[in-house]
Amino acid sequence: MSDNKFKRRSFLKGSAALGAGVVAPTIFTRTASAYTNEPGDSRVVLGFNVPQSGPYADEGADELRAYKLAVKHLNGEGDGGMLNTFSSKTLNGTGILGRKVDYVTGDTQTKSDAARASARAMIEKDGAIMITGGSSSGVAIAVQSLCQEAGVIFMAGLTHSNDTTGKDKKANGFRHFFNAYMSAAALAPVLGKEYGTDRKAYHLTADYTWGWTQEQSMIAFTEELGWETVDTVRTPLSATDFSSYIAPVLNSGADVLILNHYGSNMVNSLTNAVQFGLRDKIVNGKQFEIVVPLYSRLMARGAGDAVKGIFGSTNWHWTLQDPGSQAFVKSFGKEYGHPPSQAAHTCYVQTLLYADAAQRAGSFNPCAIAEALEGFKFDGLGNGPTLYRAADHQCFKDVLVVRGKEKPESEFDLLEVFNVTPVDKVMYEPDNPMFAGGSLGKCNPGT
């Protein structure tokens, strides 16, 4: 009879002693506040929610490095990085609104469930006032809607699907990264110039929402160019060997293969395509070509020599020569010994933009910050003049068309910037059919 009582109590005691040593309790106080997690007078907590396990762990690690660097710069440590080149001069190295910037981290595992759990822990446990990060669109959209419901700001990390600021846009969410539409709009003119306007394209597409929006955008822009779409084939996300999808390409009469894949899908399908010798072939009297609409330098490394000479687009690249990019590369390189990735760049910039918006608004209230970000025009953050559009919370800026370098000088030097497509070429109306449906709703301050 007394056995059971004893059992529980002794277990709890034992594990309490054990647990206390492992994880110190987080103690914070709350008072009646006007919005969720209103910070005290001394510090403000930001939540960095990045993939730390799973296929995107390296990208997540690079994002985290950028976040830490941004926090350093905001708190006045280090060389200030892009704070010195940012067109808005409100940030002065004293944190945000006089409060020291603190941060918490979490692991999204690139699963929407885990990402939301991690974000909720940041909001409920650590009192985070802003959540940022992520390396895939599914996660970004899931966390964005969570932040909308909880009443905090979400600054998206790497997310490329049209839906993030299209049908799933939210008033509390903001995206600096470019999207599938912009990739296609930027790539098409270059492809037309390099490969001619009389081409037959074969699409291999990752079978989920991002892949579909990428495919849809590429088809729209290449057909406008005069290309013909021979076939579009969907590949399962879990596929690791693409041989059975690539083998039929040569016989289809197509002379361009467009790989709407990202991450390890991209690495494997590109490697496979090159192994099959597609690029050595002459079809319809033309050299066979491969296009990868969205490039990630980190991932491209996994494809090795296969990326050489292949066109794609990217949000930012460390070899850019503008003062903002140079300042960022310098301070990142000094800190970590290698250049930052595009994921790192967008995350760093997002943190700065948030801090600046808070500073200009004079408040951490999500609604005030959203208002400060909406329609905000800035420069000096590596992408040239940029607009945060009020209608859908998407940044509009020049898009880089890159090509795999033939003779890389180092393991970081895989891509070369081939062309910068100006912003007016990639601009679209908020009610463009590819972005239609859904609405921002109203900003939610929570509580």
Partner: protein, 409 residues
């Protein structure tokens, strides 16, 4: 004999209820006393209890149980979207749908036993996952996951403030509402959603206890120990196994519905084989066939996932900030591979250690600890001779085959 079991059960029920209701107090010192994690403990506790009904009793190892969790989640979101943000219809609908789904899969899979059964359930779950991710996007919203939307019909609800989504609620009590309380220097968060989950957990625990003690439960155990003999004695076992499979699937569907009610989003990863594997691991680690074990296993795995993964370098170096720099760096270097992005490493090690040293899972550890404490307590009152004998008795023999596992408690 019967009476003592009854008494024990009553006591266990009371202890369990108190522990669950007091969770915010118990968990706060571990840094786990915030609503999201407490809800997850309760929900995955329900999931594991349900899985244990099937696996612990009949020995049928389903490797696709996450499919029912996923189906329950999708069903619940659809109810929240179409009918009302009240959680009751969502939960009921999810349990019904996942029950039907379990009936279908169970009917087919239970034609085989052993590993062939496991692979059949795995195959069904993986098919569900792959289809939910891509082909079934109109129903599941694919990779992004199914969420509530501003322009959902919600035919039973009154109009809400424009531009804002109404949160799921129980007759006006919002799941996200939290009451903050200071207690003995701890900040407690008493959350509505958690107490809804807790109440259901207690109820589900009670049902599982009743099933364990019922003649039906006895029959299920007989399936585990010798199915052939049962068949020879004229008992047709498959209907019984199917009933418990469906019950177990409904538990999973209920867990899925609760996940959605606490946080209205259902994503396909919920159905992936790793999710099915997770509930298997929870149950085995806690102690398959025990009543409390699965809940314990669920809590530990979720604790590692949510707390260990959040300990970053800055936090670690903060712990050792009192030490001299070189020593602090040394300790940081030792512990960091197991924390933050290395949280899975610690989890893997825990799996191995638990099962190597505690063959019956954590509950066996608890039973041993009690036995040891009991002997210690008794030997205090006796002379030295008795103490040495009891010490000899208690030393475990590593080469002996598996000791009788604790079936109850």
């Amino acid at each position: 004999m019967l009476k003592t079991t009854d008494n024990k059960d009553r006591l266990m029920m009371i202890a369990f209820t108190v522990a669950v209701l007091a969770a915010p107090v118990i968990l706060a010192p571990f840094g786990a006393g915030y609503p999201d994690l407490m809800q997850r403990f309760a929900i995955y506790g329900i999931f594991a209890i349900g899985f244990n009904l099937l696996f612990g009793l009949t020995g049928y190892l389903s490797f696709g149980h996450a499919a029912f969790l996923g189906v329950g989640s999708y069903a619940a979101v659809w109810m929240l979207k179409l009918l009302s943000v009240n959680v009751i219809p969502a939960i009921i609908f999810a349990v019904v749908i996942s029950g039907l789904f379990a009936l279908l899969i169970g009917y087919v899979s239970l034609r085989r036993s052993g590993i062939y059964f496991s692979i059949l359930t795995l195959a069904f779950a993986q098919m569900s996952y792959n289809l939910a991710y891509s082909v079934l996007t109109p129903i599941t919203n694919g990779e992004t996951g199914l969420q509530m939307d501003l322009d959902d019909p919600r035919i039973l609800d009154a109009a809400t403030a424009p531009g804002q989504l109404p949160p799921p609620s129980l007759f006006g009590l919002e799941m996200g509402d939290t009451h903050y309380l200071s207690f003995m220097g701890l900040d407690l968060q008493l959350n509505v959603g958690f107490y809804v989950c807790a109440a259901i957990l207690i109820l589900m625990f009670y049902i599982s206890l009743r099933i364990f003690r019922s003649p039906f439960g006895m029959l299920l155990r007989a399936i585990k120990s010798n199915q052939t003999r049962l068949n020879y004695t004229g008992v047709h076992t498959r209907p019984y196994a199917l009933v418990v499979f469906v019950i177990s699937g409904m538990y999973a569907g209920l867990a899925g519905a609760l996940l959605v009610c606490m946080d209205p989003l259902a994503g396909p990863e919920r159905m992936q084989w790793t999710a099915s594997g997770e509930v298997v691991l929870m149950t085995i680690m806690g102690g398959a066939g025990t009543l409390i074990g699965p809940v314990l296993g669920a809590c530990i795995i979720k604790y590692f996932e949510n707390i260990f993964s959040r300990v970053n370098d800055a936090v670690v170096s903060n712990w050792f900030s009192g030490l001299p720099d070189s020593l602090g760096d040394f300790f940081s270097a030792i512990v960091s591979p197991f924390l933050g992005s290395g949280w899975q490493m610690s989890l893997g090690l825990i799996f191995m250690l638990v099962i190597i040293f505690l063959p019956g899972g954590l509950m066996e550890g608890v039973t041993r600890l009690i036995g040891w404490l009991g002997r210690l307590f008794r030997s205090r009152n006796n002379d030295e001779d008795a103490e040495t004998t009891s010490a000899k008795e208690s030393s475990p023999d590593p080469h002996s085959s598996r000791p009788a596992s604790p079936k109850e408690s």
